[in-house]
């Protein structure tokens, strides 16, 4: 009954290895791997020249630029504010702190479409936040800035939840040593603590960035979706599909998948490196 994989597997008395591994691989293949490989086959069918033509189409390039640019800006903002929020949650005790800690996960729990329409209502020129900003001449909704706002919302927990456990493990002795050697508090924070937090910050940045590039639901309501200006790549895929232009949709998807997998690889090696260097990921 059990699969015979003697060379691949360390002997164990726990049964069910063949059954569970077989089921896992079958399920993953049917649901994830075979469907995903469809993008690769369809791209290969296009041929190199046709793929290049579709992938370097002016509107496609503009959409990719908007997606990656806004995701980069949002992830950078999230590193700053995520580090601040994590620091406050880890180091300070104040009323409502547990509530705030739980609230950080809201973007994971709130459906993206709900976040999208809520942020649009808030940041529209007649909204609670958009109104005062519009009076100052700053338009957020229906501009690329709106995309950044939506991606900051979506990406925040990735940074906070990556940095928080690392901050909790900082040994106070290091800070005391720095202080007794005459460093000011600011110098201790930026020259002693920040370097050991940087791998976690970078990982959080990469996770938030990767999520932001592919994000769709929370962005399309607030973006305005003007081609060449505030049209994101996932939306262009949807538009091409609605035109039954499967070739163009596949080409954009292939570019996005290639970049996301490269990002994933980078995140994994970053975590492996930081585990070796600092003993934590």
């Amino acid at each position: 009954m059990a699969l015979a994989l003697p060379a691949l597997r360390r002997p164990s008395v726990i049964p069910g290895f063949g059954l569970t591994l077989g089921f896992t691989i079958l399920y993953l293949s049917l649901v994830v791997l075979i469907p995903l490989s469809g993008v690769v086959w369809r791209t290969a069918d296009l041929g190199w020249a046709e793929f290049l033509r579709l992938a370097t189409d002016e509107r496609t390039l503009a959409a990719l630029k908007v997606s990656f640019g806004c995701a980069f800006a949002a992830a950078a903002l999230n590193v700053v504010f995520g580090a601040l929020v994590a620091w406050v949650l880890v180091r300070y005790r104040f009323p409502g702190r547990p509530l705030l800690d739980a609230a950080v996960d809201l973007p994971f729990a709130l459906p993206t479409a709900v976040a999208g329409i809520a942020l649009t209502a808030l940041y529209a020129p007649d909204g609670w936040i958009g109104g005062p900003l519009a009076a100052l001449g700053l338009k957020i909704a229906w501009t690329p800035l709106g995309i950044v706002v939506a991606l900051v919302f979506v990406g925040l927990p990735f940074v906070v939840r990556t940095v928080q456990p690392v901050m909790e493990e900082i040994e106070r002795e290091i800070e005391e040593a720095s202080a007794t050697l005459g460093a000011s508090r600011a110098r201790t924070v930026f020259r002693v603590l920040a370097p050991s937090l940087s791998p976690a910050l970078l990982t959080g940045f990469a996770l938030a960035f990767a999520r932001g590039v592919g994000e769709y639901g929370s962005v399309i309501f607030i973006a305005g979706n003007l081609p060449y200006r505030s049209e994101i790549a996932p939306l262009l895929i949807v538009i091409r599909l609605e035109e039954f232009n499967y070739a163009a949709a596949t080409a954009i998807a292939a570019v996005m998948l290639a970049i996301s997998f490269a990002m994933l690889l980078a995140i994994n090696s970053l975590q492996a490196w930081s585990r070796r260097r600092y003993g934590h990921g």
Binding site: I14, F17, P35, A109, A113, V114, V149, G214
Partner: protein
């Protein structure tokens, strides 16, 4: 007076004049940092949540309820529940099987398998929908054959379920694998050596040990399954009353400028998110430390 206010609002702060810890910031800096993060979280997290409920109830409680019992909304709620009832148990069984194989056994390629399980998290939801359109759409090999035999996958419930299963594959497995790895195999070995069968060992030893972790994974899986928008939007076809889930219904109402109804349906999803957060926090207390380290 200042001291009283200080202890009331910032009980963690040392009293004025007390010697200051050299590993902390001055009280002024502390208060400033706390205020800055409160302001940031209020603007980006709490305000959107408040806006959903404010807009949903803007025309009164009656209008809110009316938007929810309208036939298209009811059918969207039913479809969302149906999809979650199919997708969550499937991924639950998958998660248990994957965790049993990966956490209780040592084999070559294990790290690779675990990263494959996480793969759907790094794929844009729109691409998750697209791959099923490519697989079952007009230009594919299986799609036309299936529809000739009366099975419709795209723009129908099976496609919505498949897309939802894809985006929620990792949730249960990624909770269970580290938990079961940390628990080791000694208890299972003891049960087996006392004569219990493999199934009995799993049901009576392993499952009770991981029940809170399993529930945690199911909770997150369910929240995503009910709230998924991008992947489902690509495969659903947006047929009102037929293939509309709750998030898609929100979009349709919103694009029709029926904002109050859109926010009413959205408020139901926001309630689901709040319940999820409360249960998640309670479960993290049960699961003990390490919980805040969870990403996604």
């Amino acid at each position: 007076m200042v001291d009283i206010a200080r202890t009331l609002f910032f009980p963690g702060l040392p009293a004025a004049g007390a010697s200051r810890d050299c590993t902390s910031e001055t009280p002024g800096v502390r208060a400033g940092l706390i205020a800055a993060s409160l302001l940031f979280l209020a603007l980006f997290l709490l305000a959107p949540l408040a806006a959903v409920f404010a807009q949903a109830l803007s025309a009164g409680f009656g209008a809110w309820a009316a938007a929810l019992v309208e036939p298209d909304a009811l059918s969207a709620i039913r479809l969302t529940l149906l999809v979650a009832v199919i997708a969550v148990p499937l991924n639950c069984v998958f998660g248990l099987a994957a965790a049993w194989a990966a956490a209780k056994h040592e084999f070559r390629g294990k790290a690779f398998l675990i990263s494959l399980i996480d793969l759907p998290f790094s794929v844009s939801p729109v691409i998750a929908g697209l791959i099923y359109v490519l697989l079952f759409g007009a230009g594919s090999a299986i799609g036309p054959w299936l529809s000739a035999h009366g099975v419709q996958v795209l723009f129908a419930v099976p496609g919505i379920v498949l897309a939802t299963v894809f985006v929620t594959v990792p949730f249960v497995a990624r909770e269970l694998i580290p938990l079961m790895q940390a628990q080791g195999t000694t208890e299972e070995e003891a049960a087996l050596s006392l004569g219990a069968s493999g199934w009995r060992t799993f049901l009576r030893v392993t499952l009770p040990n991981v029940k809170w972790g399993l529930l945690y994974g199911v909770l997150l899986c369910n929240a995503r399954a009910m709230g998924e928008f991008g992947a489902v939007s690509v495969v659903s076809g947006h047929i009102r009353g037929m293939t509309n889930t709750m998030p898609l219904h929100v979009e349709i109402l919103y694009n029709e400028y029926n904002f109050q109804a859109a926010f009413a349906v959205a408020s139901l999803l926001a309630l689901l998110a709040l319940v999820t957060l409360v249960l998640k926090t309670a479960l993290e207390a049960r699961l003990g430390g390490g919980a805040p380290g969870r990403v996604r």
